[in-house]
Amino acid sequence: MDYAKLWFVFWAVLWTGYFALDGFDLGVGFSGWLAAADEQERGFVFSSIGPFWDGNEVWLVTAGGATFAAFPPVYSGLFSWLYPALLLILFSLILRGAALEFRGKVQSASWKGAWEFSAAFSSLSATLLFGVLFGNLFRGLEIGPAGYSGTFAGLLNSYALLTGLLFAVFFFFHGQLWLSFKTPDPVAGRARRLAGGAWYALVVLAVVFIAASYASTGLTGNFMVRKSLLVLPAGVAVSLVLAKILLARGAPGRAFIASFTGIVFFILTGFAGLYPDLLPSRVNPAFGLNVYNSASSPYTLKLMAVVVAIFLPVVICYQAWVYRLFRAPLTAEELRQSGIY
């Protein structure tokens, strides 16, 4: 068995898990206030993601840790080459964590307002930056024979910005769907309308993104060679259509699940296009970091595969249990009871 290839799949799954889960709480973080009219309603918005965002962000930590263990050169390359971008992502995530935790701790409008603004700003910047980051992975980095030679300004190319925008709109849609069934009216009603509107923007962006990927990246090559992979982008399309239908039929919970699978298929599509590269080079494919030249030793890969095979299903089980536990919408009584939490 080729563990390096298996690890590429794990790598893709961990990132996919991160975006599909943290996607809605990032979206709620930066766009939730649009669905809320006053302080109590914003309380619903933030409490709706309260039990989840922390556990969701651990998917990111795990994706990072797994990169470190399974593809050390990718870990060190990604983070030291794209230093300024990663630094901004970290600042955003720190600020976001603090904002979500501190917001409810003091009962004053200006205190809450300040943290709500911080949460919105940092959630949006984290989302955009993640999009830009993945846009650049899809597009390829400036890796030459002497190593990496790109600049921060070079990361902000139009394709990467388009990816950033796509992430933001996707998470906006995803987050509003979450609010549509997790909060009471009138918040939920507003969220449903916002999600409905965002859907059109999302579809347009997705089409533009596919065209741009075809024109300016090597992402589409794998799909031409292996037609069976086309099931992944088809999954995105089906999920999005389903999400819209379910939303219109008044089943926002199911629409949320559809948009969840939409993100899963979307991220997997990206990784399927990348394979076998992890950090492709724009200069010459030979300089890129791929599963062959960047993997850890077979011993480590095998060991870590066993660890993942044991723990990941357990994690998924108890996280699913937590989502079940909190599946009922929030009530005003519960909001009052949880008090400062």
């Binding site: 039990p51 962000e57 050169p73 970290l90 501190f102 850890s296 909190f326």
Partner: protein, 424 residues
Amino acid sequence: MTAMFHFIFVPLTLGLGWLVAWFETRYACSGDARYLAMARFWGKLFLINFALGVVTGLTLEFQLGMNWAEYSKYVGDIFGAPLAIEAMAAFFLESTFIGVWMFGWGRMSKKAHAAAMWVVAFATNMSALWILLANGWMQRPVGYILRNGRAEMTDFTALLLNPYGWIEFFHTVFSGWVIAGFFVMGVCAWHLLRKNQEDLFKRSFSAGAVFALASSLLVAGVGDISGVNVAKNQPAKFAAMESVWETQAPAPYTLLTFPSLRGDGNAVEALKVPYALSLMAFHSPTAEVRGLNSFAPQDRPPVLPVFLSFRTMVALGMLFILLSGAAVWLSCKDLLGRYPLFLKIMLFAIPLPYLAIQLGWIVTEMGRQPWLVYGLMRTAEGVSNTVTPAQVWLSLGGFTVLYTALGIIDVWLLAKYARKGMEA
């Protein structure tokens, strides 16, 4: 930097979780509402602390790659494994169940809710285990082979059973428990001095006192084993901790020492206890203790900070045993109200275990210099070479400002909620 900041907030959660879980279990089993109030009160303080522990932990995972790229590439094969396992086996568990505990009051049974806190407490300590096994590997690399221009893992069991990592784990975790014990006692002392909710705070105080005494003794015990371990595996660090320059057998312990500022010997050396250092280092009165002079100057750690940190830490450790011993005795006899001065001391003692734990890290990390991985890779070889100094300073400055601001807010919130007292 992040590591130090991370470690200001994490240790309290290592111990406080157990106490909260204990109070809540007593409530769940007896239905005694006083324990519910205690669990909720200490739980709130736990949460305020936890938040920053998590966000700093998140960033720590990525900073290794950003600033220590060469290191990450060289040892990732073996060093990455415990970090990835930590995320998967512990970090997920604590972050998920802390959410359950926070928001789950009305959605589950009392016992299940208390169990959630046990899971959190267990997971935070497990988290420390994996991180310290990783650090233990940097202190005493085992189970690897140099191949393909990097360190590759050959024996996971050796990494897992590395005594260095386990000793560090117990020493760190127990000292985190000491912090929690002193934190609880200090906050209680504040309220007892003001005669607020005396019954609740006396109960909390005695739980904190017993916890602190037991952990102070355990820290000291593991500390002794740790000393032997360092003397055996990292003789240069041990020599710097005691500022020993000449190799001697048997070696005396010098009560009054002060290293000279030139870094080539001791300015003061007086009151020698014969055989004592050999006993400490190897549990044998005649064993040979290597001095700093037997190491080339470029292989010596900075002596002055390591030495001072070590001595202060040990003195503080002794003080903790005395203070918590007195606290247990006074609270058993219900005499706390008669000694306001003692309560004041306990209030001002809150920062001391924090200081001790930071000093301990200075000893561990600075004492390992000039090595990043002991005997394998020097610190200067590990840094990122595509990252410019300007970027590093910018990030260091940014993190300092951000963390200091958040740290101040966090401490302010802690003080605010600590003063507010319990919900009656």
